[in-house]
Symmetry: C3
Subunit: 270 residues, 3 copies
């Protein structure tokens, strides 16, 4: 994708303030909501089974993150994912720690069958979801992004959507094209919820772009550039989190378009 598309996607988030319905883990709800607000989107965290289906139908996009899932929230996730599918609302699946734990691995397989617009995870999670690996160590990947290329492409062809693999360089594919997004900062891995918030930002971008691969890549570039800016001012992992939110707000379409994040590295897969 080119600079014009990146610019347009970023500005569209701010102009449209998409309402992102987040069913996410309780550890990261606050930073997820704050990242969406900083980027110009509107978060709503509705995870009761009594409400999740109805709300997903009116939201601009939906995020399903299984980080602290249990029986009640699993039911809400199923309802929200089905409702999003029926309404044609884009939705993102974040398979946190899938592979290592049977309960969430089965749930994630169910959700994959509902065809998420984007799956976003680390290499271990994507490989486990594609049946190509056993999962990572807790929430951390034990595999490198490039190890997950075949799994990501296969999973994308299976869902008909996009698969995004986060790592030192992020890798995104829709099964035909591969995009790599570089940049970012190691401090993202020292801040709980940065990856989960990225999933929510992907949802926000999906709501305002026609091509899911473009939207997902723009969200990754936005997060990476903001992390670089924040690293320049942060004194450590604590002050980084606030600086990153400041930078998510400050990064505009022009800044994103001219950033040297190698987003343009697009190749035909297969």
């Amino acid at each position: 994708m080119d600079a014009v598309e990146l610019n347009a996607a970023r500005e569209a988030v701010r102009a449209n303030a998409p309402l992102v319905h987040c069913l996410t883990n309780t550890v990261v709800q606050a930073i997820t909501a704050n990242a969406l607000l900083a980027a110009g989107a509107a978060p709503a965290m509705v995870d009761a089974p009594e409400e999740a289906g109805d709300f997903a139908a009116v939201a601009s996009a939906v995020l399903v993150n299984v980080g602290t899932v249990h029986r009640r929230t699993a039911e809400a996730m199923r309802l929200a994912a089905r409702s999003a599918g029926t309404a044609g609302t884009p939705w993102v699946l974040d398979p946190v720690a899938v592979g290592g734990l049977a309960y969430r691995t089965e749930l994630a397989a169910e959700l994959v069958a509902l065809r998420p617009t984007v799956v976003r995870g680390n290499a271990s999670e994507v490989m486990a979801l594609a049946g190509a690996g056993a999962g990572g160590r807790g929430v951390d990947s034990t595999a490198a992004t490039d190890d997950a290329v075949a799994a990501a492409v296969g999973l994308a062809l299976h869902t008909g959507g996009v698969v995004a693999v986060s790592g030192e360089v992020d890798l995104l594919t829709d099964g035909r094209r591969i995009v790599r997004v570089g940049g970012g900062s190691v401090l993202l891995t020292r801040t709980t919820g940065a990856g989960c918030a990225l999933g929510a930002l992907v949802a926000a971008y999906l709501a305002v772009t026609d091509d899911p691969l473009t939207g997902a890549a723009a969200a990754h570039a936005h997060v990476a550039l903001a992390a670089e800016w924040a690293t320049a001012t942060a004194a450590g992992p604590g002050t980084f989190a606030a600086a990153w939110l400041d930078a998510l707000d400050a990064v505009d379409g022009d800044a994103l378009a001219i950033a040297d994040l190698r987003v343009a590295d697009v190749r035909v897969a297969g």
Copy 2:
């Protein structure tokens, strides 16, 4: 109300450190607790049905916020509200996103029947609770504060308590008097949980003041002045949140009393 009352209310929070029992949504529990601590109050987040009734009876004040309510926490909220009513403990209802979602709208109607000391919400929420509107967009209001005057007055006469409508200028009424609190900062709307934390601070002030309208207005003024101070030092929405907590601590009775927030704008309603 006058400067002397504002000063006294602020100092009474610090002197008495009221124990505020919060049944609130999981997104904002941390910033709510931190806002109470910064102001000099003592938070406790107890939302198990097994404990909420007992704890409400010994707390100085109670907050019930339905932001992420579900079956278990709804039951805890009913028990806490009833217990507070029996004990004569002041309590605040924050009807987050009521109007748009049937489940929480029915719950909020139940809770209103238990006569909260203060209802605090945005214009859409208050109008929906008063039967005068259909709710907002997710957690955001689609109505202006002044649109909600009649609904707020009517709701206050119905509960016998105070209704506080947050907006660019906040509007508070006990059905007889109207207070407007100006000031504040747009960054409050870019920080998840700032409005919810305001509800908790209202509860803290209710515990140390005799007149609920005075207590609620002082809490709103405290939040607004702290937001102005924080805006002066923040570099964006991320650093604003920490600066706002610093300022909630730094604002003392004298600072609040001399702030030009138009708190004195009191008129007879009706």
Copy 3:
């Protein structure tokens, strides 16, 4: 314990990045995860009954904190504690507000019978757990650390583990030895979750040290020294939280070893 042990324990956390399985209250999950990440450990918050037992068996250490416990999470805690016991994995019990509320007091007694490696709480909580007091005011202690010496020693002899009492000066004992850790900052008490995060850091240290008293004391010293550093740069309780996380990262073994925290004050108990 001496400076060499403190230095070695601190460096071992960073070198081994222990995976700390946290079953903790929803208010403090984020700051707990961030404190572990800042110190160099790896957090994972898994609190579903379907997963908690399995995960505790593969984690490096486990934290059980009853701050917002309810039926589902209580069941997960029982499973995790039993699993840790069977696997020989060190685990920490943080009995938040035990004494004042019957439900969690009974649960804590059950968990104590499973012999936690370390119990960490304030004086009121430890005294209530030892049957020597009625609990504090909400989450705050109404007793001084020195009031809890006999209760702490008795409880340590009962569990066969370590009991750590947080206060202005922290007191730790394994029933034979007593260690006091001074320093710290009053701002720790103005930040929600600082004490709970300390419990998680104790778990991280237990995973990399042979002697639980040494590990627990090193964690307390780490937190206290980081709080001192953060107080020097913070403008209030809001900026303190981020500065404290920065300092948890910055404090290394050498800094900890030469800090004047009176950690060396070891005496034979009884």
